[in-house]
Structure formats: C-alpha cells, structure tokens
C-alpha cells in the first residue's frame, strides 16, 4: 500500500534513523563519521544552549497555552450568542489562522521595532519612551508569545465553538430558571462539558509550541543570546548551519521523547472522546 510506504519512509524510518545517527560523530571530508556511543548525548547535557532552549520552550508553552485557551473560550462564548455582526467578529478572530506565520511575523516585526515601530509610537502618545522589545532578553520571549497567542487563539476557538453548539440549550434555560448566575452556569455546567475539547486542544497546543518556529526566522533568529531560541530552531541551526547532523539527531531524540509522552496522552484522550460520543 503506497500510503504505508510513504508513512514508513517519512515517519518510522527517520525516527529509527535518528536514534542510530545520534550515536555517531560529525563527518567531515578529513574525518569520516564513526560510532561514538552516547557521546552526543553527553555533549548535549553539557551544552548550556540546549538547556536554555529547553527552558525557553517550557516557558513558551506555559506562557502561550493557558492564555490562548482562555482567550479561545472567551471568543467562543462571544460568538456563540447573538451579538450584532456575529459572523464578522468570528471572521476577525479566525483570520490569523489562515495567514502564514512567516507573513504575520513580518508584520509583527514592524510592531516591535524600537522607537519607530507601532507599539512604541502608540506608547509615545501616552508619554512612554520606546522599548527595545526584541532586543531585550526579558521581553523578547513574551513578545513572541503575544504573537503566538494572537495566531492560535482563533484556531482553538473553533473547537470550542463546535463543542458549545453541541450543548443542548435546555441546560442553560434550566439553570437560569433555577436562578443560577451565568458565571455559575459556565463554571459548573459548561466548562465540565467542554473538558474533552480542552484536553484535545491542550494536546494540540503543546504540540504546536514545539513545532512552530517559523516566526523566529524573521523576528529574532533565536537571539539575543539565545533568549528566544526554541528546540526545533536549535535543531535546524545545528543541522543546517553547522552541519552537525549527528548532534542534531541527539537533539531530535529529546523532541521525540517529549512528543512520545504527548502521544500517549493523546491516545488516552482520544479514547475518552470516543466514549463521550
């Protein structure tokens, strides 16, 4: 079956090859590659940049996922009721999802540029002086997170919207007749019903936070001093700038392990969803 061959060629075979490659040394014209056991992993553990990008990625995930999920729920609540111009609003929320990351990063670069960028200009009207958003290691990662939340919230909103439309409207009426506040209804009735969706979105969000690095090419290249470098971008740099394929393979292994854990969770979640349906 052709699907199977392609899957094996581009998913399973490379996974295995990564394991093998990570055990060899860098090949140059002068020194051929040789088996070095766990040396690449040893080097990885000694590599401060590796730990830095891993920590960055954790912060990146922690910073973007809860915010974008919360925003997604709020957005879904907004457009799930009959407000004027509902479909326009919904479209506005969803638009970032269909735009390429690389294109929106270009636009956001103009926002963040010190002094002449849009954010600093607006801040200037209120008397604040310019800030070097992408040049300050303390603000560069948050700046990137804001953009990521902007990009992703609308996408997650869709899933919540779908789930909310499956909730029978009688439930809300019933709770209103009981005199329950809307917040109470949301907290005790709606949110639990949305739980499977939340889990599903969560898994996807974690996945995205590890594989979405397109914006780094435009915005920061991982700088300053790796303050915004993420794991996959570091893998790219290692493999395609330094040509250290084997070290990159070791780094990829870390990513694979993380995703493997997520995969287990995903199966668990998917199973649950099937019962739920």
């Amino acid at each position: 079956m052709p699907a199977a061959i392609l899957l094996i060629a581009f998913t399973h075979y490379p996974t295995v090859a990564t394991v093998i490659d990570s055990l060899f040394s860098k090949a140059t014209a002068i020194r051929p590659s040789r088996f070095v056991g766990l040396l690449n992993y040893q080097r990885m553990l000694d590599d401060p940049i590796f730990w830095k990008v891993l920590a960055n990625n954790a912060w990146f995930a922690l910073g973007t996922i809860p915010t974008s999920i919360a925003l997604a729920i709020v957005m879904a609540l907004f457009v799930n009721r009959a407000i004027p111009g509902r479909s326009l609003v919904r479209m506005a929320y969803f638009t970032p999802t269909v735009l390429p990351m690389i294109a929106v990063a270009n636009i956001w670069l103009f926002f963040y540029t010190p002094d002449i960028g849009l954010i600093d200009q607006i801040a200037g009207w209120f008397g604040f002086s310019g800030h070097n958003w992408l040049g300050d290691p303390n603000t560069v990662l948050p700046a990137i997170m804001v953009m990521t939340v902007w990009k992703e919230a609308g996408f997650f909103m869709i899933f919540y919207l779908a789930a909310m439309q499956n909730i029978p409207p009688e439930l809300e009426e019933a709770s209103r007749l009981e005199g329950a506040s809307r917040w109470y209804y949301f907290r005790r009735v709606m949110f639990p019903l949305l739980m499977p969706t939340t889990l599903f979105v969560l898994v996807n969000a974690v996945l995205n936070s590890f594989k979405l690095v397109d914006h780094l090419f435009v915005l920061t290249k991982g700088g300053p001093d790796n303050a915004s470098n993420l794991l996959l971008y570091y893998i790219f740099e290692t493999a395609f700038s330094y040509f250290e394929t084997h070290f990159a393979a070791a780094l990829t292994m870390v990513l694979l392990v993380i995703l493997g854990v997520m995969a287990l969770l995903q199966f668990f979640v998917l199973d649950k969803r099937v019962h739920y349906r």
Binding site: T28, A29, I30, I49, L109, T113, P114, D115, I116, S129, G130, N132, L134, G135, D136, P137, T220, K221, G223, P224, D225, N226, A227, E237, F240, S241, Y242, F243
Partner: protein
C-alpha cells in the same frame, strides 16, 4: 529493501551523469548561488551583469539564483552539493573559506588558472580583500561583493546640536562626547547605533581592532576573544548604552537600523558600506559618511562575499566559471557594481575607470570604504566557523543585554572556541 534503494540511487545518478555529459558537449551550463545582505534591488543588478556575460559568451549558460542571506546561500550551496545537483560556482561569505575547505567542497583558483595572464589576475585585487580568500598559500576566493564598516551620520542633526557637520568623530572619546550632544533626553533621537543582531561579531571585529587587537590568527585555528583589549572593546560597546547613554540599551536590530537612521531616530549609525546607495537614494536629509573612529588606532574588518568554484565540476565548467568570475570582477563591472550598491570596487583598476572616477568626484563618500582599506583586516574566520562565531555572537549579546559581564562572556566564548579549534592546531 535498502539494497534496492541503493541500486536505484546508483541508477538515477548514472543517468544524471549521462545527461550532464551530453549537455556539456553543446553549451556549458553554470548554476551560481549568490546572497544579498543589504538593501536595494541588488538582484536586478546581478542579473544584468550575468545577462551581459551571456550575450558576449553564447557558449555558456548561467543560472544565477538569489539564495537569501549569507547563511542561506552557504546552506543552499552545500546542500545542493550533497544532494547531487550541485552548483558550479557560488558567491558565499568570504569567511566560509575554512568550512568549505574542510568539507572538501571547493577548488583553489591556483589549480584552475593556466596562463600567466590569469595568474596575474589573481594578484590584481586589493590585498586586504584577499586576506579572507587565501590560506595555506593558495587562493580560494575571489572578492566580489566586498565591504567595510563605515560610519553614516546625519549632518542636519549635527548642525542642530551645534556640531560641525564636516567634522564627524575620529576617536572613541569624540564619539561619546558628540553622541551626548546628539542624544535627546526624551528618547526621540539617539546619538549612535551599532547593530548587534545579524552580524554582531563583525561590528565587534572593528571595535576590537580599534582597541589594538585582532580577533583571530591567519591560520584560522586560534582566537583571542579574552584578550584584555578585546574585553575593553566590548566594555566600551556596552558603555555606549549603559554609561554614556548615547545608544539604546539591549541589542540593536541589523535589519531595521537603516530605517531608524533614515527616520532620524539616530544621528550616527555604523553599517556596511553596501548600504551606501540605498541610503543615498532614500535619505531626506543631508548625510555624511566617514571612517570609523579610533581608540588606539583606526580599524575595521572587511566583509562580504567571495566567488568560489566547487570541486564537483569538470574542466570545461571550471574554465567557464573562471571566465564568468573574471567578467563580473573586471574593472568596468566592478565600477558599475560599486556605483549601484555602495560595495567596494574590488581592484585598484576599478577606481581608475572613467565612470567611477566621475562618480567619486561627484559623490566623494563613495571612496570612503576604499580609503579605509589601509586600516582594515580580515573578518573573523576560523575552522568550525559557524560554532565559533555563534559563541562570540552570543557573548556579545549577553554582555550588551547585561546577563553577563563582558569579561565572563568573552572568557566563555574563548574556551568554547579553544575546545572546537584544538584539533586543527
């Protein structure tokens, strides 16, 4: 299964070679990658010169591919090499030389040129520009889009601050003193900006040399990052932002700096001379160009791209490639290229052509980069150059953003470089 794949590959490659051999008989086809790292429509300029070449040499077909920035160009060219659809020549970073030699990717020009005239051609360029193209007694790279760092300044802001617009700073002390006058307290205008993303090590090479120490030796196997003069240079850079407050704190973006300068947000910027024409065309104010100021001495690294010829080529292709390179770097074209971009004319002869002479007469700043060559040195270039450079870049940014002291950051970069380079000494 793997055996099958192997044979399939052999088959494919054999066919490819056959096709290559057949086509080579009729006209020589050359694929060339080139990068662009500064503003302006340089791609059309390159395409124009290449078209002229093909008109004069109908037996050679050239495909010139714009491959992004220097890093992209190197990645693309090397990747193409590995994938069996290689380019024959490429413009790449002059400092990629050791990496390319180690990958066994390029041939020395000495092994390609034959006639005495061609050998003399190798010596026709500015010797300083050849420093990054020569090692182990051979010439590997021919200078093409070469630059130095120059100081652009906004004369209007000089006048407004009560400074003489014809006397830009010539020393670090003057830079600080004038910078203070040029900086407005409300943050709407800075005294100076030196970019610290993109190519921080390059700007730093200038500061270190001005402070009396070059960054590496000529064998590409030793760096001097933790030398006191080098540490002092980084301290000075950091002080510009933190102590003297004439530059924004943190890192300054290479790509948007020109826009900042053109918008009048900074009175002085250090940037590649390759931006000259773009600044000239877009500045709405009176601007000047000057050599970089001195601490112990003046100094700047050269920068930019060289032509390389790849090893995976047949003699006919190599010959054609040399012809193309000779054409693109001949005095007339070098002059044209310099006028359209701001890059340097790569040979003294280029500045002897009538059109460049006229141009310099009307626009004297076009010659600043050339005049600065006497103070210039090679750009940071070593074995394992990607890692070594990244180490220095990170150190510079760490110091500028305040997460490490200049001394600690550079010590770390030096010990990392030592570890990487030990095996080449």
């Amino acid at each position: 299964m793997f055996k099958g794949i192997k044979w399939l590959c052999v088959g494919v490659m054999a066919t490819a070679f056959l096709i290559a051999a057949v086509t080579a008989g009729s006209a020589t086809e050359l694929t060339m990658y080139y990068p662009v790292a500064v503003g302006g429509p340089l791609t059309t300029v390159v395409d124009g010169i290449v078209d002229d070449f093909m008109k004069q040499n109908p037996d050679v077909k050239v495909k010139a591919i714009y491959a992004g920035n220097y890093n992209d160009a190197r990645i693309k060219a090397l990747a193409a090499l590995k994938s069996g659809q290689p380019a024959q020549l490429s413009v790449m970073f002059s400092i990629d030389i050791y990496e390319l030699i180690e990958q066994d990717a390029i041939v020395a020009f000495d092994d390609v040129v034959e006639t005495a005239e061609e050998k003399a051609w190798l010596d026709s360029f500015y010797p300083t520009l050849m420093e990054n193209g020569r090692t182990a007694g051979k010439t590997w790279g021919i200078p093409f889009q070469r630059s130095t760092i120059v100081m652009y300044y906004n004369k209007d802001t000089f006048r407004a601050a009560g400074l003489d617009p014809e006397l830009p700073p010539t020393t670090w002390d003057e830079l600080v003193a004038m910078g203070k006058k040029l900086t407005k307290p409300d943050g709407s205008q800075w005294g100076a900006m030196i970019p610290s993303t993109g190519y921080p090590y390059w700007m730093f090479g200038a500061l270190a040399m001005q402070n009396g120490q070059e960054l590496m030796n000529s064998n590409g196997d030793t760096t001097y990052f933790d030398d006191p003069a080098v540490v002092g240079a980084l301290q000075f850079w950091k002080d510009l932002g933190e102590k003297h407050r004439i530059m924004p704190k943190g890192t300054i973006e290479w790509g948007t700096l020109r826009q900042n300068f053109l918008e009048g947000k900074t009175a002085i910027m250090w940037h590649s001379t390759g931006n000259l024409t773009a600044v000239k065309d877009n500045a709405k104010f009176d601007f000047g160009v000057a050599m970089l100021p001195a601490s112990k001495r003046r100094g700047t690294p050269t920068g930019g791209g060289n032509f390389y010829i790849f090893k995976k080529t047949n003699p006919a292709e190599r010959k054609a490639a040399v012809r193309l390179i000779k054409f693109m770097t001949n005095p007339e074209n070098a002059a044209e290229w310099s006028m359209k971009t701001g890059y340097m004319g790569v040979s003294p002869a280029a500045y002897e052509t009538q059109k460049l002479k006229d141009y310099v007469k009307a626009f004297p700043y076009a010659a600043v980069a050339r005049d600065q060559l006497q103070h210039a040195t090679a750009e940071l270039s070593t074995y394992q150059t990607g890692r070594v450079r990244k180490g220095l870049d990170d150190a510079i940014q760490a110091a500028l953003t305040g997460s490490k002291t200049p001394e600690a950051a550079l010590k770390e970069a030096q010990s990392q470089a030592d570890r990487l380079l030990k095996q080449y000494r």
